[in-house]
């Protein structure tokens, strides 16, 4: 029996990426080369953004050579029996390995290692992304040979080319198919968008010849930092290196957010934590985490901050790049702002803001009464509105929200310090990390604060009430914190807290 066997090419693509088009190109090119070929696919509804695969099998002898004999070509990819796997995304490439198609003695893997996140990864309240290292482990070990690239790091013109055309160029360049390059070109010319796809194909071909670029290029040098007031510079200089690394980011931000005095307050708050931090091995884990969370908390997002960020020159420049506006193309930007009764109460002085908020919450108006504003921030009047709102920075320290946040920060720090001072450093660290629950705006923010309060009350405080040195206490707080990020309704959190201690009262549904 003949030793010849079909060449099997498996294409893994996501809906809308043109995997079917690529299949057609390969089939057409093989047909042009007079090679027996068969392509199959299972698009189904996967064309709607789902992952799917396409299989092409090519017999390495021409029809003329075979003289009427017809090879049997497969309908399904074989386990460890595919010669080339082409993938356009990291996890999909790993999936091809996991499904067993990639073999260490046969398979060339051509894959883009960028991530396109799946919905389950995107929708997490914190960071639900799959650990890319796990995928890379398979990509490094399983295939016989790889051509891996990050499409965003390729030199032009390869960067920006459609991945199907680029992959076809890489495939042709890899030289594993007995199909001349000209047959591929002819196939592209007979298909969709021939000009751009030919450019992509040639770019891939060139890359295959020159070799794919190595790891990422060196980062561009950063612009000089804003000067810190002298006093802050002195105070900061006394911080240990690992805390200083955080403070160097935090201090200019706090100055910009509020004032130099506010930044000083940050350092004052950090002082006692540093003193209570045993810093095992010279590593200030607790202080660094508190420094990070404290900076974020002290720069809490209110309308003034949003206006400040949205009206900044840096943002305007970034935005133009982001939407790929060319030089000389006007860009009109519309902001979706919806200041409500809550935001108004936040800005008023405490003696007015607190009763207003209480009334709005009592009567259910808190999420209802608001002003839907569409601000054209690139127009002069729209910009002025943001600009003037940002000027309210000086007023901020007199607002109800400011008083509230500072009190909450103080309470949080007190809990951390109490734990740290009695030697429960891991517990202190976990309490510090709970500040990550506080984020977002409006409803999201209220929910975050509710979750934070629940964790403090039902996980942290019982731990503090118990005798010091309970090794399981930090784990319980960490579990509660993670549970608070499991679902927006806090169902998981309540269940977790109930399993830890007495159940808290049921709260309203959210989202």
């Amino acid at each position: 029996m003949s030793a010849a066997r079909p060449i099997s090419v498996l294409i893994s693509a996501m809906g809308g990426e043109g995997g079917g088009v690529m299949t057609d190109w390969i089939v057409a090119a093989a047909q042009k080369a007079d090679l027996p070929v068969q392509g199959t696919s299972i698009p189904g509804v996967a064309q709607r953004t789902g992952a799917t695969t396409y299989l092409v099998e090519i017999w390495p002898q021409t029809n003329a050579e075979l003289g009427g004999r017809r090879p049997i070509l497969a309908v399904h990819p074989e386990p460890a029996g595919v010669d080339v796997v082409i993938a356009t995304e990291l996890v999909e490439a790993a999936r091809c390995c996991e499904r067993g198609f990639v073999s260490p003695d046969r398979t060339l893997l051509i894959a883009a290692t960028r991530r396109v996140y799946a919905t389950v990864e995107k929708q997490a309240m914190g960071d639900g992304r799959f650990d890319p290292e796990r995928a890379f482990r398979a990509l490094r070990e399983i295939p016989a040979r790889t051509m891996l690239y990050d499409p965003d790091r390729l030199p032009p013109p390869a960067r920006g080319a459609s991945l199907n055309a680029l992959s076809l160029g890489l495939l042709a360049g890899a030289g594993v198919l007995p199909i001349p390059h000209e047959a591929f070109r002819a196939a592209i010319r007979a298909g969709v968008a021939p000009e751009t796809n030919l450019r992509g194909f040639e770019a891939g071909l060139a890359l295959a010849a020159e070799g794919l670029p190595g790891p990422e290029p060196a980062a561009a040098p950063l612009p000089p930092r804003a000067e810190l007031p002298e006093m802050l510079r002195h105070a900061a200089a006394t911080l240990p290196a690992d805390v200083l690394a955080v403070a160097e980011i935090a201090l200019p931000r706090l100055v910009h957010y509020q004032s130099a005095a506010y930044a000083r307050r940050y350092l004052e708050r950090l002082g006692p934590v540093l003193a209570a931090d045993p810093a095992p091995g010279g590593v200030h884990r607790l202080s660094a985490e508190v420094a990070r969370q404290l900076a974020l908390w002290m720069c809490y997002e209110d309308v003034v901050r949003v206006a400040q960020l949205k009206s900044s020159a840096a943002r305007f420049a970034e935005l133009r790049a982001e939407v790929r506006a060319k030089e000389g193309e006007p860009v009109a930007v519309t902001e979706f702002l919806k200041p409500g009764i809550g935001e108004a109460a936040d800005l008023l002085p405490p003696f007015l803001g607190r009763p207003l908020r209480a009334w709005a919450e009592r009567t259910g108006r808190i999420g209802r009464w608001h002003l839907a504003l569409r601000v054209r921030s690139t127009s002069i009047t729209g910009f002025l509105a943001l600009f003037l709102l940002a000027r309210l920075r000086r007023w901020r320290p007199f607002s109800a929200r400011f008083a509230e946040e500072q009190a909450a920060i103080a309470a949080w720090l007190a809990r951390i310090l109490a734990a740290a001072r009695r030697g429960d450093h891991d517990l202190a660290l976990e309490i510090a990390a709970c500040a990550r629950l506080l984020k977002g705006y409006g409803d999201t923010y209220r929910r975050g604060r509710e979750g934070f309060a629940l964790v403090m009350q039902h996980a942290v405080d019982p731990a503090r009430a118990a005798p010091a040195g309970d090794a399981s206490a930090p784990g319980r707080v960490a579990r509660a914190r993670e549970a608070a990020l499991a679902d927006p309704e806090h169902k998981t959190l309540r269940a977790t807290l109930a399993s830890l201690a007495a159940p808290p009262p049921l709260a309203r549904a959210a989202e």
Binding site: M1, S2, Q31, V37, Q38, G39, T40, I42, P43, G44, V45, R48, T49, G50, W59, R70, P71, H76, P77, P79, A80, C97, E98, R99, G100, V116, A118, T119, K122, Q123, G126, D127, R134, A138, R225, A245, E248, A288, L309, K310, S311, S312, A314, L319, V323, K326, P330, V331, A332, V333, F336, K338, I380, F383, F387, K439, G442, D443, G448, A510
Partner: protein, 724 residues
């Protein structure tokens, strides 16, 4: 439909001796024309939609041949159209997705099969089973058995597929019985080639009318004719079919020297079995096998002589039969028992009862079979080693990855007009609490997946409203919501759902997603299609149909304004008015719209015209990484990326450049009061002098203010992240 099928139509015109290179389902279309069909019908659905799309556009060719083509309102309608072949010597064909389509068709099919046919009838059923399938997993086989129709399962390559479809018409005529040709997803989408024959003009067709109607009571499905028909099936049609199958060698025997065992395979799995044998060194790649194989291109009826003839003298046969129940295995075992042949029948003992027969499944089953039967001349240890080597890399990869890879099921497209409806439902449920959602078939079924997780049951195409009618009263005052697409509405929803709801005065809400096409199946026209490439005027608006049915509370509403949709939904759920309340959520399918708009935009851009491109974005600086926007929108272009803030860890939301500017993310952020991070950017290409004048003025004023602010309170420059 916004696509052109000119290339495909050219394929259907190929004449004798020309090479046809194209998709499997088109090869079948060509086979129909080569068989001289008079009429073709069907109902769209993967994997057979393409045939209908091409026939729909091939009016000229069909007119030349005298072939009548008309898509049916549903599969029952398609099956009923086959009645033309009951009385008249005309060949007809229908296509649909199976088993769901066959389910719908089965009322008409029972009658068709009982009456029997004069002209050949072939139903091409796209078997939507296994990976890529979108429906419940069942077998079509049972329909053939219960109605005494014949079932073909052709070998999946064009050179076998085309002649077998042609033979199917002859088999149908020889035995007066309709024939189903079961073609799996991969075979339908297969790219391959065959040598074409000329298309055949039917004797009767649009070019040549039938002279006289035929009346023959024996063709009527009423007693006493039905008794005669049942008898005729047994006494005449079955034997005639078996004789035809045997004489024309529709099933194939591939002989081999290891003849103490054998394999009986459904035609559709032949390639997989031959490849597995080749892997084990027991076959070459041209179909020469050492283990004898009986290929059943016709799986119903079986020809007992073929079975006994193949099995006689063998110790054991392996039955490769996908799905359950194991009809073939049972039938073969019974046949052998009757013939007193002692060959062991092994099928589902080594192959799974449920699930697709992939290469790995078949290879594993085959190895288990060889290990169990130890045929003379097979090195069983070697065979086991091949399997071990074939499966080891997959196991190793799994171990290396060591975690579940995130699944990537299909979902709503970027800019899909249906997504905002579910976002609105989510927002309204925050106020009124969770409600029972009766889902339906269509793209909108994806709402049952994250991030919406919406839909309590799916009962079939267009049956959502019917499925809610016993649920609704159980919830008392709290109303249920039925979500139905326009495809489902016309397929079955109007006739079975709306009519009963009106008659029974059912209190509830139905949302009809009117996106202008039967979109999930490939944007085919339906009665309410407003316009399409063919410029068909709208024939029957959904609202008009609902009014005619007696529905009083109807609101037609665009979908992208989430706030308005929320308001309408809230009203529908809380109004005092009893009865069925229908919201027609009308907005064109974005895939179709983009197919039309994109070239138009590109042409205008090239011509130097002023064009405005709209897209949305997220300010990374104000995004706190909570992702509630993603949970409410689910748009593929709304994704995440590393947080540029070195102090934050959670990724920020980000709109990538696939954004088509539908505005849902901004709308949702606004309607649900999520956050101020979204912005809309309108980018003007080829700006006019006036545009540029304004741009310069604005840049000057805004720039001056920004510089002033920067001087007073400089913004910190970006910093690298501190080490962990």
């Amino acid at each position: 439909m916004e696509r052109s099928f000119a290339k495909e139509i050219a394929l259907l015109r190929k004449g004798a001796g020309e090479v046809f290179e194209g998709e499997g389902i088109l090869a079948i279309a060509k086979a129909l024309l080569q068989s001289g069909v008079s009429y073709v019908t069907g109902y769209q659905g993967a994997p057979v939609s393409h045939l209908m799309d091409v026939f729909h556009d091939a009016k000229e060719l069909l007119a030349e041949l005298g072939v009548h083509y008309a898509p049916a309102a549903n599969e029952a309608g398609a099956a009923a159209m086959l009645a033309a072949s009951i009385n008249y010597p005309v060949r007809g064909a229908a296509v649909w997705k199976s088993t769901v389509g066959t389910n719908v068709a089965s009322d008409a099919l029972s009658n068709l099969a009982s009456a029997g046919v004069k002209g050949g009838v072939v139903m091409v059923v796209g078997e939507d089973y296994g990976e890529g399938a979108s429906i419940i997993q069942e077998r079509t086989h049972a329909f053939a058995m219960k109605s005494s129709m014949w079932l073909m399962d052709p070998r999946p390559d064009h050179e076998h597929l085309v002649p077998l479809i042609e033979k199917a018409f002859e088999l149908s005529e020889a035995s007066s019985t309709p024939v189903m040709a079961e073609v799996r997803i991969r075979a339908c989408h297969m790219r391959g080639r065959f040598i074409a024959k000329d298309n055949v003009k039917p004797r009767y067709g649009t070019h040549a009318p039938i002279p006289e109607p035929d009346f023959d009571y024996s063709r009527i499905c009423l007693p006493p004719a039905t008794y005669t028909q049942e008898k005729d099936k047994i006494e005449r049609r079955f034997p005639a079919a078996r004789a035809f199958i045997r004489e024309h060698r529709l099933n194939e025997v591939l002989d081999g020297d290891l003849n103490d065992v054998g394999i009986i395979v459904q035609g559709g799995h032949t390639n997989t079995v031959l490849r597995a044998l080749a892997r084990l060194g027991l076959a070459d790649h041209f179909g020469a096998t050492r283990v004898p194989v009986l290929v059943l291109n016709v799986t119903y009826p079986l020809v007992p002589e073929e079975i006994t003839g193949f099995c006689a003298g063998k110790r054991a046969v392996l039955i490769v039969e996908e799905g359950n129940p194991d009809y073939l295995e049972q039938a073969i075992a019974a046949t052998l028992r009757e013939g007193d042949i002692q060959t062991r029948v092994i099928g589902k003992k080594v192959l799974p009862l449920a699930g697709e027969y992939t290469a790995e499944v078949v290879l594993t089953g085959l190895v288990r079979f060889l290990e169990g039967t130890m045929p003379r001349g097979v090195d069983v240890a070697q065979v086991a080693r091949v399997l071990e080597e074939a499966t080891a890399p997959g196991r190793k990869a799994k171990a290396l990855i060591g975690a579940t890879l995130p699944p990537r099921p299909p979902g709503f497209c970027t800019g899909c007009p249906e997504r905002p409806v579910f976002a609105a439902m989510k927002i309204v449920q925050r106020e009124v609490g969770q409600v029972h959602v009766a889902a339906d078939i269509g793209c909108h079924s994806f709402a049952t997946l994250p991030p919406f997780n919406m839909g309590n049951s799916i009962l079939g195409y267009g049956l959502g409203l019917s499925s809610a009618q016993a649920v609704a009263p159980l919830f008392g005052e709290k109303r249920t919501i039925t979500v139905m697409g326009d495809g489902g509405f016309w397929h079955n929803g109007l006739s079975s759902g709306v009519s009963a709801a009106v008659q029974n005065r059912t209190d509830g809400v139905m949302i009809v997603l009117d996106n202008n096409y039967s979109s999930a199946t490939g944007q085919q026209a339906i009665p309410s299609t407003r316009n399409s490439r063919q410029d068909v005027p709208q024939r029957l608006p959904i609202e008009q149909a609902l009014r005619a049915m007696g529905v009083r509370w109807i609101r037609t509403q665009g979908t992208y304004r989430v706030k308005d949709m929320v308001k309408t939904l809230r009203e529908a759920l809380t109004t005092k008015e009893k009865g069925l309340k229908v919201i027609v959520a009308a907005e064109e399918c974005m895939l179709a719209r983009q197919r039309r708009e994109k070239p138009r935009y590109a042409a205008a851009l090239k011509a130097g015209e002023r064009v405005v491109r709209t897209r949305y974005g997220v300010d990374a600086a104000t995004c706190t990484g909570d992702h509630s926007c993603i949970r409410l929108s689910g748009c593929p272009s709304l994704t995440i990326r590393d947080n540029p803030d070195p102090l934050r860890r959670d990724p920020v939301a980000y709109v990538n450049n696939d954004c088509v500017g539908c505005g849902l993310c901004g709308e949702v952020a606004d309607a649900a009061q999520l956050c101020p991070s979204f912005y809309r950017a309108d980018i003007v290409s080829n700006p006019t002098p006036r545009d540029l004048w304004w741009m310069r003025l604005r840049e000057r004023v805004i720039g001056a203010l920004q510089r002033w602010a920067e001087r007073r309170n400089p913004a910190p420059a970006p910093m690298p992240a501190p080490a962990e």
